[in-house]
Symmetry: C2
Subunit: 693 residues, 2 copies
Amino acid sequence: MTIRQTLFCGAAFGIAGLALSAVPASAEEGMWTFDAFPTAKVRKDLGWAPDKAWLDTVRASAVRLTGGCSASVVSPQGLVLTNHHCVIACVQDLSTDKADYVQAGFTARSREDERKCPGQQAEIVTAITDVTPQVKAAIGTATGEALVRAEIAAIARIESGNCTDGATQRCQVIKLYGGGQYKLYSYRKYSDVRLVFAPEFKAAFFGGDPDNFNFPRYALDVGFLRLYENGRPIAAESHLRWNPAAPKEGDATFVVGNPGSTQRLFTQDQFALRRDVIFPLTVPLMSEYRGRLIAAMAGDKERTRTGADTLFGIENGYKVYVGQWQALRDPGFSGTLAANEARLRAAVAKEAGLRGRIGDPWANVAKADAAYRDFYADFYLLEANAGYGSTLYGYAEALVRAATEREKPDAERLPGYSSSRLALLEKQLTDEKPVYPWLEELTLSFWLSKTREILTVDNPDVKRMLGKESPEALAERLVSGSRLADPKVRKRLFDGGMAAIRASDDPLIRFFLINDERGRALSRRYDREVGGQITAAQAKLATARFAVYGDSIYPDATFSLRISYGRVKGWTYRGTAVPPFTYIGGLYDRATGAEPFEAAPKWLAAQGRIAKDTVYDYVTTNDIIGGNSGSPVIARDGSVIGAAFDGNIHSIGGSYGYDAALNRTVVVSSAAITEALKTVYDAGSLLKELSGG
Amino acid sequence: MTIRQTLFCGAAFGIAGLALSAVPASAEEGMWTFDAFPTAKVRKDLGWAPDKAWLDTVRASAVRLTGGCSASVVSPQGLVLTNHHCVIACVQDLSTDKADYVQAGFTARSREDERKCPGQQAEIVTAITDVTPQVKAAIGTATGEALVRAEIAAIARIESGNCTDGATQRCQVIKLYGGGQYKLYSYRKYSDVRLVFAPEFKAAFFGGDPDNFNFPRYALDVGFLRLYENGRPIAAESHLRWNPAAPKEGDATFVVGNPGSTQRLFTQDQFALRRDVIFPLTVPLMSEYRGRLIAAMAGDKERTRTGADTLFGIENGYKVYVGQWQALRDPGFSGTLAANEARLRAAVAKEAGLRGRIGDPWANVAKADAAYRDFYADFYLLEANAGYGSTLYGYAEALVRAATEREKPDAERLPGYSSSRLALLEKQLTDEKPVYPWLEELTLSFWLSKTREILTVDNPDVKRMLGKESPEALAERLVSGSRLADPKVRKRLFDGGMAAIRASDDPLIRFFLINDERGRALSRRYDREVGGQITAAQAKLATARFAVYGDSIYPDATFSLRISYGRVKGWTYRGTAVPPFTYIGGLYDRATGAEPFEAAPKWLAAQGRIAKDTVYDYVTTNDIIGGNSGSPVIARDGSVIGAAFDGNIHSIGGSYGYDAALNRTVVVSSAAITEALKTVYDAGSLLKELSGG
């Protein structure tokens, strides 16, 4: 429930004397790319390693969901396994006040019942090509804003030049090691993704926020989608075989998916910036927003329904941020990070040639971060997180900027608006999707009031945004007056370009236009003083690491395809051993009848029939992070034995380092899914499809 | 609006290169006690110093309000000057849905109109006696829990033995320098305090939370009370003379009041505990609670009225915490604090005799703080801040504990329940005061859900508290079932002692009883591992400071009577000079018509008549902190020229150190009060009384 790639950024609670690995990777550590699979290391650690055919099949069955999740094809008819929390936004979008699928669950009884998920796109990697030389040649010796511009232009050129069929292909250049490597990932894309099955929220998220990131766990965090093309289910080129049996303790497990973001290669100054500047600003903001949501939803059934996904996202993200921050404040954990950096610096200092080639990238990062401190709050509030996630504000921003940027050559555009990236943006902008005015107003008034509070009343940006209005009155006027909730209106504005934007009297478009230039200026300042500097410095740090550690290292997570390996294994913390498995029967023991520990009605009804000794959830040592949500967990024989849906509490520090003793992936077993489909949900046709019938 | 002593704990925003003074005190620094007034230093800094008669009159006119504020007697008939934000709780308690004095303001047109403030008590110092030898003799060589017990017993003995008339006297032993000195403060107390005048919230708190702690400022943060005895206004033994003229730039100013709490004598480990443990837990909690309040009040007029004081308190406290925390994370500010400690340690190291006497108190503090880290969250959630300020929970706690503790000798009681302290507690418990069920339920469900979140679901304390209930359901049951809102019920339970408590079926009493022992155990653990250790270490640090710095030092604030001296003076920050005065005319320029920048209707009506060149608010260099709210600002001639109501944003770091260049007190001028009473409020009789007529 946890590892969807959106809000998260990890803290080991009470980490004592852990053996953070940094570089080179320790046993079972690493989120490895498919083009640099560490065969020898895996063989050494597991006593066996997959061959090329195994890896090729797995890669061709692995799906990235653009909402920030991972998934896998599990039938020839394009059936896709993922998590419930990866489809909950879709389930909510498809619900109405009359038919609430979040509460009731959703089971398509036929193909015709399968319903399209707004904004969702599925992507399967078809090739990985090294384009480092091209991008680095384009960058040359540039730094700062010039570096960022050159990098964007080179990436846009490579992406456009390699994907000629926009309808079925997507090309994306992935920046690895913070700028040490650039790889072109080519994807087969599927824009019509439909909902097949989602259990009730109470079953999928039993234990709610309190149990999130904890184990033992009793959650059926599973959802099934199907890939469509031309109105019909696809004939999948590759799929994973469903395995209805649970693994045994010690069995090897592979997790294949798209970990979103880690910061294991950060320097000490980057950690300090997070600890002392970023988290102290962002955590209290999330906290107040969460409080406003909870109180606005309390006792209001419709708001409780329509705000559920937003609240889940913020609570999940909050737990991650708090945990990551705690890790950085933990003397033991942060001491290990400092020692790792000292080790690399000492190794570099010993090699005069290397030292001459890279200079002092640590000092350059420190300088960039010192500059960032001075405008972090402005940048965060007015540009990077402007609108605080408001859907309507996001539409206004994307429409205005798409119109402006399309008039420029790729090299001059903002990132995200290059020609190769517009197709997905257009889909996300024009798909029909419900908008909830109360939530929009709450979000915008929160953002405006916090911006005023933090930047202060007399700040010229604040004055320009608010004029003589209060945050509340302005938010009300923008939301009640805007017609951007209508996909036809958005389509017209998108197609109409700058002429349509200029002619629009939509208050949100007008509001965004007033503030656009300031946001762009902050963005340029970020590129100039921070982003461009850090890319240059990280490229040099990558050079140093390759020179010192060779290929025993892996890049930080980038929401691109990775594979991690491990075993089914519990852990011991402060003398208490946590076994690796839970069983369906345990759900009934843990249920109190009070939210969020209420068993779903269908599960209560099935209590007498269900096989209570079925493995429900289990933990493995795989190294994953947010974005891996929905990843297939694959056995040595290539069969899928579950879907990763969470990490334990100790895994949150995984953003900064992997601890084999404590860091665990939490999986919902294919055994439990099979038993539930059979006994609880009576989903015979789905079961049949999974079993290859 | 800011410096009431309740929630605050102070950060200079963007402090660069400040000259924090620590010890010895720099020019104009210090919150001095009346029995150690630094005459020579004041004469040196101001070119003049008050004599004993001046000081005696001022002391005898200075009032402490038990709600956490300061005040002064300003007429022979017991009229008391304080801040609006010090009387807003009373104004709200006296309001109903029919008569909302928070919005409309309150002006008593005759004595009969003056209304008693629930729970309010006023106290005037009559004597200060050194009782250090007695307390230190009682403590002897005890440490830990034994030290705390001996200290409590000695203090209770001194307090009881010196105040024989409980109806009119209060004795309180004040611990100074964290245990270096103990002084007995004897007070004349007044338990019948009535509301005379309060302006509209919009006038008193113009600019609201955004302008709080900022300057220029346009706030009439003033309130008048009157002391009664036997149903009649008192004949005051001493009072300050009202001065309707504003001071000039550079004029000397004295602020006399009760600064609540500073931590300037903390060690590095104590600062680190705040920065890394306390603030990261408490700030996000305040933030979410604030969010819940805001959303619950939005669009609901009655809740907006009844929640106003709670929201103000949390927003004010939040700003203080955030500022203090920022100061501790600021490299320049925290570097100065570290240098100050290093300086004292070096001085001690040079003196073998001193070193032998005090040992290594820094190490002892470090050990205590390391122990505290392990149970801080438990202690905070289950004992120190249990109930998160819920009025009903507070009643249950005080009733149960008063009953239990009264059965023991003073030496064995919890602090706050010794015989000398029960009178005020009884008054606060039995005064009639409105309770708002929605707010109680919101607060308790917040507290319960956060306790579950932070301590986790499977924690035995959490399990005992919640049983099978959800936080929301439990809070609803406790609030809807409790009869503790009725003062007669509370009176019966208080008078009935343990027998009545045991017989009570009030759900909140039952709930508190279930959890009481755990809270007590945490309290004992705190005494043993933290409090008792730190008192012993701070006593040794005080010895070191006196030896090294002599009497050039002053104790940390303790919500007891202090005097600070300074001048009317603006400041310059990042090249921008802020002048010391605002004028009434500026209010009309700043008003936007949108909350919280709406001028009050009466002020708009008076716009044509009012003297716009009257000084409204002004700033001085006086060293104050939360608790000083309402303090008289006194001119060299002994007249009162305003009421301190805030500090500027740079003053928040004042918790840890005073910066003469930036730290400012914000005052509402007696000139503006006079003009407003005359022109806006038509309060002729009040004006006449002030002018001695």
